[in-house]
Each structure stands twice: as C-alpha cells, then as structure tokens.
C-alpha cells in the first residue's frame, strides 16, 4: 500500500508498437513488473506530448487515464490535490496518523498526516491541511460525465442495455460504424466501474470484430466536449487556459505565474479569500499534474502558444527595481529614512511617480564578503528587502522624510548604475515550504543536528519553544526596562510579532547585534533557523552577564546626581561652619557659595544630558 508502483500518466503518450505490445503482455502479469517496464519507457520518451487525435486509441486512453485514480482505478471521486502535484480520491487516502515533533505552523489540522502512496514522492509525509478538494478537476469530471452520458452518445448510437458492466459477457456483435463510439464509451464506463487498470492500454470490448474509426457524429461530440470543458480550464486571473496550473490549499487553481503575481499584492485566495498557505507549491514548482496533463491533451495548440509566450514573458517578468544602499531592513518591519542625496531624491521621485511606491533597500558592505553573497561584487549586500513607501513628507528644499514598510526579501541577480543609483534585476526570496520546515524540525528533534554550528545547541527545542523563549526574553528585558525595548521604541516598531516567521526580523531590528549576525537572519529561508539564530544572540547576551554590566551602567549614569547631592550637603556644612565662626571674612563666604553653585550647575547639566 505504501509504494504504489505506477508511472507518471503523461509519459505514456505515443508508445511505439513494440512497446505497447509488451505493455499488453505485462498487463497480464500485473504487479511490480510495471515499475521496471515503465521506467524504461519513461527514459526513452520523457516529455513527449501526445498528439491531438481523438481517433487514436492511445490518445483516448490517456484522456481517460488523466481522470482515473491511481489507487482504486476508478474515475476520481472527490479528487484531492496533494502538495506533490498528484491526485487521488478522498476515499483512497492512506490511513491518517498523528504527525509528531512538529510545532510550526501551529494549526491543529497540520498534526494529521499520511504517507504519500505515489512513487514520485518517495514515501514523503503530507499534512492533511495541505490537501484540498480540487475544484477544477471536480468540475471537469462533472462536465465529462454530462457529455458522455448524453443521450446522443449512448442510447442513440449504442444500446447501453446490452452493456456488459465488467468482464466479458455475452453480447451481440456491434456494427463496424458504431464500434469506435462504443469502444470509447465502454472504456469510460469500465474506468468508472474500476475494472480498467490504470496502467493498461485501451481495452477492446467483447463483441467488436472491426471498427471504422470515429464517425462524423462522434467527432462532433468530441468537439462539444472540448467546447464545454474549455471554460473549466481558464485561469480566473488571466482568463487564459492554465499555464503550469497550481492548486492552492483551498482547492482553487491558477496559473503559477498568476498566483505568484497575486501573492505580490495579497496573501488571500482571489476566490474565497482564505489565507493562501504561503509557500505551498508555488515556490517549489509542483504544479497540478492532472490538470497539466489534461490541458496539454485537450488544448495542445494553446499550450504550445503558451510555451512560447512564457519564454518571451520571462524577460519581461524579470523584475528590475531601483536600489537604495543604506541599511539593513527586514520584511514587515517599518523603516524611517531621511533622503537628502540628490540621486536618491531622484530615485524616490521616480518610484512615487510611476505609482509603485517601492524600492529595494540593501546594506552597505564595508568589510569582507559574507558567505551568503558568493561571488557577488558590489559595494552593497546581495540580499535586501523591498520597501513600500507608506508615508512621505517632502520639504521645500527637496529633502524628504520617508516612512516605509518592508514587504519581501530579494536577491540581486545583476545590477547596473543609472543616474547615480543602482538598478537591479532581482529574484524574490521565499521561505521554504511548510512541509520542509516541519521535516527539518522533526529530524532535528529526533536525531539532533549534525552541523557544528552555534545554533546546534537549540536543535532539541521545538520551533514553538524557540519562539516562546524569544518572546519571554523580550518580556523579561522589558521588566528590567532595557533601552532596546523602551516604550517609545515599541511605539515605533510595534509589539513583538505573534508570527514566529516575523519575530526574528523584529528582534534583528531592535537588538544591538552586529550587522553580520543580522545578515544571517535576513538570508535565512527557514523560520526555525532564524529563531535559532536569535536564540544564539540571547544566549550570548546572558553569557556576557549583561545584567551586571547593565546595573553598573545605570550606576555610572547616576554619578552626576549623586555628586549633586554631595555638593549640596557640603555647601550646607560650610554654611554651618561659617555661621559658627562669625569672624571669617565675608568675601570668603561669597567665594565658597560661588564655587559650589558653579559645580552644582555643571553637575546638573551633566545629569540632565545623560538622561
């Protein structure tokens, strides 16, 4: 049950005669023989697209196969899209088990999972929260059912009452001009019954001695099917047939590129406004395999056009943004800038005028090259954060105060200079998928970390615990009224974020840590890794016994005040002494007062300047 020895459906496109013969023979053998046989097939013709030919049996078989469940061989019922891109019936999900050693993201439905039964997935575990009812495929199945159960296709052409539902039965011979249509309907019907093995070739129904190919009526019928299905395969963002269809965790499908564009603007599903589980499939590139195969089978011309469009489009879609080399900033964290340099004034003005209100911010790179940057040669860091201008105050002299908010992280692919500031081609930096995050957490908590890095000592902690500890550290620091978390700072940067993915960015902005350390957090694509880096900082601060230092620091700060008090006491003592000794000269008394007052004023000035 665990490993289902079946091949990818789309590989079985136009096998040579010999191959299909051997396939038939092996069908009778069944079982594990498929694996080796299909693998050779896969190697010989890996990405052959089946030619559009409704009369060809292999084409029709491929079409029906795209609607069949690999597990139960029936037509998919309540098709469930898995994160790996495969699909199975809801009822065919292997037994669910509780997933252990995972804590992030903390949703109760992520705790339930199953082992993927498909070969391509290598026994990976899927969370049930990542699997969704494929709404597009459900609609397609309904449309196909309606068209194929249409009276014109069944009753008029073929007498369905004589239909053997499964296995060979005693049926009357079918006249040759009806034979083809009969075959299609038969294949569909036995697939529906579950008696057509997923891997088998087009079945020849009993009672057919000779077929004449598709009739005009049948061709018309197929055209009807195509027309009816056409709108089911339209992406609701670009209104074109799916290009690399990608299914969200709520079951809606969009082109991969469309979904990426949507995510640039919001993380809600355009259809149902449910939060898109952010990293699912989009970045990892696992498209919906069934829909991909169906689109290329039914609308090959459109798919071919799309391919050329996509290759042309890539150049356009490569994002070019202006770069401001200044300081390190983080996503979801505000940043305040005073822009006075003429070249950056120009950059800002352009960003505002073209309506994007966005520019990229990278940090200066004074020292050696950080390992993350590789061979990137520039006076600034390779990774940065896209900033959105939330508020802008222009002064009459051209300077401006800018309030910005970090949107997403990027990596610079290449850059050039324009009017004094860099223009860069960038690539978005996304976190790893939830599934990988969970796998990492589970493996570290069970096996520990192999790497000899400072973050290793936190490997046994759950991601949620790491976050909790960081959060508690902030709370305890606030109780000690440490300057980094003073109220006015929190008013600016907000309370510590509840999202463990953002929390490390917030900490990196507020804590007095050196830029190199912060850069590690910026380039890390794993929430867990980022939290561990923050824990390293926290530990380092504890080790430096910063508490004693801090108390000492506060005492030093108070020295002027203490001095002030001492001087006042001293003046009173002098005054008392002069009162006792009436003979002392008056000028002496005045000079005492004068000196004491000056010292007091200086002390007060120092005291106030310190606080």
């Amino acid at each position: 049950m665990n490993v289902y020895p079946n091949p990818e459906p789309q590989l079985h496109s136009e096998p040579e005669k010999g191959a299909s013969d051997s396939n038939l023979q092996r069908n009778s053998l069944g079982g594990s023989d498929f694996v080796t046989e299909k693998k050779t097939l896969a190697n010989s013709s890996p990405k052959l697209r089946p030619t559009f030919n409704p009369e060809s049996e292999s084409y029709l078989r491929e079409l029906i196969r795209s609607l069949q469940c690999k597990i139960c061989n029936q037509l998919l019922r309540q098709p469930l899209a898995l994160p790996c891109g495969d699909t199975l019936c809801r009822t065919c999900i292997p037994r669910l088990h509780e997933r252990r050693y995972i804590s992030y993201p903390s949703q109760s439905d992520r705790k339930q999972g199953f082992t993927c039964p498909f070969e391509g997935c290598h026994g990976q575990e899927h969370s049930i929260a990542d699997c969704s009812l494929d709404i597009t495929l459900t609609n397609v199945l309904t449309s196909v059912e309606i068209v194929l159960s249409d009276s014109a296709f069944s009753q008029d052409s073929v007498d369905t009452s004589s239909f053997p539902s499964s296995g060979p039965g005693k049926v009357q011979p079918i006249p040759p001009d009806k034979a083809h249509i009969y075959k299609v309907f038969w294949a569909y019907r036995i697939a529906k019954d579950g008696t057509l093995p997923f891997t088998s070739d087009f079945p020849t129904p009993p009672g057919i001695e000779h077929s004449e190919g598709a009739t005009e009526q049948e061709k018309q019928h197929f055209a009807n099917l195509l027309a009816r299905l056409r709108s089911d395969f339209d992406c609701q963002v670009c209104y074109c047939p799916y290009n690399s269809p990608t299914t969200t965790s709520c079951g809606h499908t969009f082109c991969k590129a469309c979904l990426e564009r949507v995510r640039d603007h919001s993380n809600l599903c355009p259809f149902c406004r449910k939060t898109l589980s952010p990293y699912r499939n989009i970045s990892t590139g696992c498209g919906n395999k069934r829909l991909t195969s169906l689109v290329s089978l039914l609308y090959p011309q459109i798919t071919a056009d799309k391919d050329t469009q996509a290759s042309e489009g890539e150049i356009v879609s490569e994002q070019t943004i202006p770069i401001f080399a200044c300081a390190m900033t983080f996503p979801q964290i505000p940043m305040f800038l005073h822009i006075f340099e003429p070249r950056y004034r120009l950059m800002l003005r352009r960003a505002i005028e073209d309506g994007t209100r966005c520019f990229g911010m990278v940090a200066h790179r004074p020292g050696s090259v950080p390992p993350a940057d590789g061979d990137f040669v520039a006076p600034f860091t390779r990774y940065g954060t896209m900033l959105y201008v939330t508020n802008l105050q222009m002064f009459p002299d051209g300077r401006s105060l800018v309030e910005t908010m970090g949107i997403y992280r990027f990596k610079i692919i290449s850059y050039s200079w324009q009017d004094g500031y860099p223009l860069a081609n960038i690539e978005r930096v996304e976190d790893i998928p939830y599934a990988d995050e969970e796998a990492m957490e589970a493996s570290e908590r069970i096996n520990g970390s192999d790497t000899d890095s400072p973050t290793q000592m936190f490997s046994h902690l759950s991601t949620q615990e790491l976050y909790q500890r960081g959060f508690e550290f902030v709370a305890s620091m606030r109780n000690e009224s440490v300057g980094w978390f003073a109220d006015r700072i929190l008013n600016t940067y907000g309370q510590p974020p509840q999202d463990p993915a953002i929390f490390p960015f917030w900490m990196a902005t507020l804590l007095p840590v050196n830029e190199r350390e912060k850069y590690l957090v910026l380039v890390s694509t794993s929430v867990r890794e980022r939290l561990k880096l923050v824990m390293v900082w926290i530990k380092a601060m504890d080790q430096k016994s910063w508490r004693t230092r801090y108390i000492l620091h506060r005492i030093l700060n108070r020295i002027p005040t203490i001095a002030l008090v001492l001087i006042t006491i001293y003046i009173f003592l002098i005054k008392g002494a002069t009162n006792e000794d009436q003979d002392t000269q008056k000028s002496d008394e005045i000079s005492h007062y004068f000196i004491a007052t000056i010292i007091a004023v200086i002390a007060a000035a120092i005291a106030f300047s310190r606080f």
């Binding site: 609701q236 963002v237 209104y239 603007h265 259809f271 406004r273």
Partner: protein, 149 residues
Amino acid sequence: MALPKRIIKETERLVAEPVPGIEAVPHEDNLRYFDVSIHGPAQSPYEGGVFKLELFLPEDYPMTPPKIRFLTKIYHPNIDRLGRICLDVLKANWSPALQIRTILLSIQALLGAPNPDDPLANDVAQRWKEDEPGAIATAREWTQKHAAP
C-alpha cells in the same frame, strides 16, 4: 504596451452578453478607459435615472482594482461630490477574480441599498440617518434633475 488578453476578453464578453441596465463601452483610442452608464435600480430613489460613470483599468489590473467615478451628480451617502465611490471591493476587498461586470453590478446594488453607516459624503449620510424620507426625496429630485435619460 500591449493590452493583456484578460482585458480583451472581458470587453468582448461585456459586448456579447451585456448586463441588463449596465453599459460599458471602451474608448477607441484607449481601450483601458470605459464610458459606463448604469440605470438606477427599480424601487430605489434612483429609478428612472441613467448615471454616467468613467472606469479606468490601471496598468497592473487585475492585480489592482479598476478606478471608477460617477460623472453624473448623485445624492447618495456613499458617493461624494466628486463622484468617488465608497465600496469595499474597490479598495481593500478587491480580488483579481472580480471583474468589470461584477464591480458594476456591485455599484448598481449600492444604489439600491445606500449604507449611511459607512459614509463618504458626511452631510448626505447625516441627513439620511436623521430624515430618511427627506433624503430619499432629495435623491429622487436630483435623479430627475441630473440623471434624466
């Protein structure tokens, strides 16, 4: 820049299957700019009026909502003197799965159901709350005066 396929398709469909009571015609020289007219819904103070609007599809449509403005003067708590419309789907609740057709239907529905609790024109909303029959009478009067077909 070439017009995205989506805009072409939407325009074609608007022409092929028009919505009753709503017309949207693109300008010949700018296919992103539409002249829109909406008939006031029945049983509302705007019944019998034909309201002209302008609609513009920005560069990053459908990622950002279309920009829509009433050109005909209208007395409505959610539409201000400049014709700007207070409607959630035109702002934060926009979704790329919405389209010109659905947005215009939403505006038509807004005419049928004014919402003085989320006002754009404060004076109108105030009057709507305090003296609804009076406000409706004014709306009817304005419709006859400014939106006569």
